[in-house]
Symmetry: D2
């Protein structure tokens, strides 16, 4: 088949049988259609496909197929790193926010995708750069969120935020989330943030359990860099994490800079992709049993 | 059968077929067991049972069986009025917070109840007394909640609360809910209130969409009477409602007093009643599709 | 003085002494600087300036100066109507979100503004169009928000939302707010919405006290039109209001369309305008007494 | 003076000058009135009073005077341990929830207290007992709250709650707070809990940033013991803390039991104590600048 996706890397937690089976089916189906399928060495041996180091992808990879949950998609995005390798996600039976291809009709979905019948959606990513007091810098790309959080129980963090160099607020509480629209339906939602349409070039800054009850989520243009510094308190210990993985400890003399990355990620959706339908499904909208009771109450 | 429930009043929205059928089945089953079944005249004719004016129940009624949703149960409680006639609720297929007898096994449930195998649960009620400027008084009993709410779009209400005679706060916003534990899972929950165990003799006072973000729900002993007065603003128009039904308009020179009533209501539950199971079912706890995705994420 | 603001309309609630005095001072100061000052007839007589019908402003008006609170600024924006007449707001002693010129240094601020030393900020507005079942249409521009709200106590509204023609959700609750970034710090904030930076071309759709607890605020690109329809329920009565003023009753066969307007409004700020400082001041950030207690706790 | 408070222990962070001065004044005033004043050895030397080991108080201590913030009062309560030694709190200039004696009129307040003119308020405490998999038990008393919280960034906790032996829910999120009424205005409030009147014998169970948005605070009778167990997840690491101080790590095979303690704490208030006034002051009720703007808006 004449497709732009000639080299496809398959990733997933193969040890999970709900993942292994769709991986085998997808691998076979893609190979049959003339696609070169690759996987990490151990999985490649199982699938009978070529082996590749997923930690060293180049732009020769045309597509990453992630099989699993949204966590697998975040992992796939991290593998893509600075390269905008398109991603498509197959869920294990339950729709994910990012894994919108259902195993039930996935082979038909891949036929559509291979024949060029798909939509491309560009999602913004954030770069976190932590400049530590000793001069070292740590940096990473986030598709969902960058989270600053205290590590010690029983101690609030004091920290200051600046946006585009301008002082915003001095916060007290458990920490701060800076989320992309993609991340707005993940941890950010549990912390009181709004849902942000992925087409909007915006970030949301959400204090976690803030001491001041009027310290509310703030939605800003994605192009506005955010700077966070920790105020000195004895024994303050905080951590910065990227899409749920620890980047580094965050100390009072460190500086955390969060800015929109020029490295976006492209998601590939088979025909019929509907963001609102995913929201309805994942958030149980309209399926609340309390709702249904009321609709026909006397 | 030797039961304490000799005279049973059946209520429900008979025009709804999902209600009519269980009503017929229950009526027949109770009659067969020697219970005297009564219903409002029109329904009585349909069911072939004795007619009674449901607006004039006396303590000769031993039990009210409400078939429908929680709204029907609230209506049943209002029919009981000052008399503590026990109530049992049959739902129409979906569990209610108050209608915990399922139509699937309701006949067996009634056998248990008639044979004395049931639990009795006493729920507190509130009395709202609105003293109007012209000297008239209006009063009603609430099983769920007493709600003060603005009627005009675009105008906040200013109102003052006192508890047991002591000044509490001057609120601005859309209004105020005073809910019983029973009502804590109804409108109060949508307005940010906590869930309150019905065994607790407590009330919750919840400002509706308050302008001041730190104006939060306050849980107090049920024995503490609450007084609300409206501050003068031009054209202020507010309304007091009891369990979702309007009591009266509320004007700046009026005084609303809310106090625990000595008239409680007894709910009858068949064996196996589990309050937490109802919470889990009605609030979709543990059935969130987002949850299930995450539990086995990589 | 050689200023672009040659014809200035002054508005404010002159009967309020805290408004009348700054109005007199501003009128005198502007006149002394060669500006032609206008006001509505009654106020014009008091101020000794030319009279104008504020309901019929043309683009000959170069600037509207609103003295009062944010409500006065919303009124000024409604007077500007389809014309983008720049607005500047003088507060009565307390900073407003929109009235950022303080009476204390207002004369100096006007000197800056007249000499061209100011910033111009363009704020988006929404157009609400209500198409009623009988064919009539009602339409209005909003700077803050368009609110759909029930009018009867004790009845939830059932309504459906569509964005850019796509079905989003069926909501149950007290209503819906569609707010601009400007409106995000007004009623929307009391209903759980996020703060939205006014530079972002976005709207926020906020269900009011929704029955389904996962029915959360949704931030979308401003260019996405929103359609709301009411589902049929007996006796449903709802109202649409624009910046706090009733537009019309909203009935089950009506259709409410909310779209970004091409008619934006320009705010004029004297030097030193700082959006974050206004947030800090209005939301008591960093001034919470609970905060200060904790900062030096043992 | 003939007072019941013959032996008074003074505690406070003496190194803080805002604490040292009122400590000196109180010590002198009490001694002058014939009270035997004690303090920990280092402070005793500074104050010229008798030394005592504050970690080994007996019921010979008639009163603890805590000078500082609410943290100092929590510390005082922990020093009282199993003994119900009355506590009185002097704040450092700003009212605390627990430290309601102001330094401005503290000497007069102590005169009132010594002459028997005071109110006694009994506050409930919780006992946390952590039974670890290896058989060890750790236990502590809490006046504010018992908090279970994850220690690793990026990992949700899965845990189960039971109340009085009955299964309640399986939660996912950052953890759980069980707070007393006293603790309801501390960390619990930042996590979305209600304010609970200290006269109510109730607890509140609050999930921290729960994944399921309908997993809401639950208020229960204080006599209902709560059991928490962690579900097995790889690398789960959680911690239990008591009034902000770590008790122990919490592992999947451990069991945390939280129950009302028979060891309550008595607070002593000088005349004029007003709980609602403290709420208004600490939560900035009625002092929101947004409120004041609106009250006189057009």
């Amino acid at each position: 088949m004449n497709t732009e996706f000639k080299n496809v890397v398959l990733i997933g937690l193969y040890s999970d049988p709900r993942v292994a089976e769709p991986m085998r089916l997808v691998a076979g189906h893609l190979a049959k259609n003339g696609v070169r399928v690759l996987a990490e060495p151990e999985v490649a041996a199982e699938l009978g496909v070529a082996a590749i180091d997923p930690g060293a992808l180049t732009n020769e990879t045309d597509l990453i197929v992630a099989v699993g949950g949204d966590g697998t998609m975040l992992h796939a995005a991290s593998l893509a790193g600075d390269i905008d390798i398109p991603l498509v996600g197959v869920n294990r039976g339950r729709l994910g926010f990012l894994t919108d291809v259902s195993p039930i009709d996935m082979l038909a979905s891949f036929d559509e995708i291979l024949s060029g019948n798909f939509t491309r959606e560009s999602r913004l990513r954030l770069r976190a750069t932590l400049s530590q007091a000793d001069g070292t810098k740590k940096s990473a790309l986030a598709l969902n969120d960058i989270v600053l959080q205290r590590r010690d129980t029983g101690r609030m963090l004091d920290f200051e935020t600046r946006i585009a160099g301008q002082y915003v607020n001095t916060h007290m509480g458990d920490g701060l989330i800076v989320a992309t629209p993609t991340g707005s339906t993940a941890y950010a939602l549990a912390c009181g943030g709004p849902i942000i349409d992925p087409r909007l070039d915006a970030l949301v800054v959400i204090p976690i359990c803030p001491h001041t009850l009027s310290d509310r989520p703030l939605v800003i243009p994605a192009g506005q860099p955010i700077e966070v510094t920790l105020l000195q308190r004895d024994n303050t210990s905080a951590e910065v994490s990227i899409d749920g993985h620890s980047l580094a400890e965050f100390r009072p003399d460190d500086r955390l800079l969060i800015a929109e990355s020029s490295r976006r990620i492209t998601l590939i959706h088979p025909p019929g992709y509907d963001y609102y339908e995913i929201l309805r499904s994942k958030l149980n909208w309209g399926r609340d049993s309390r709702t249904q009771r009321q609709q026909s109450d006397i």
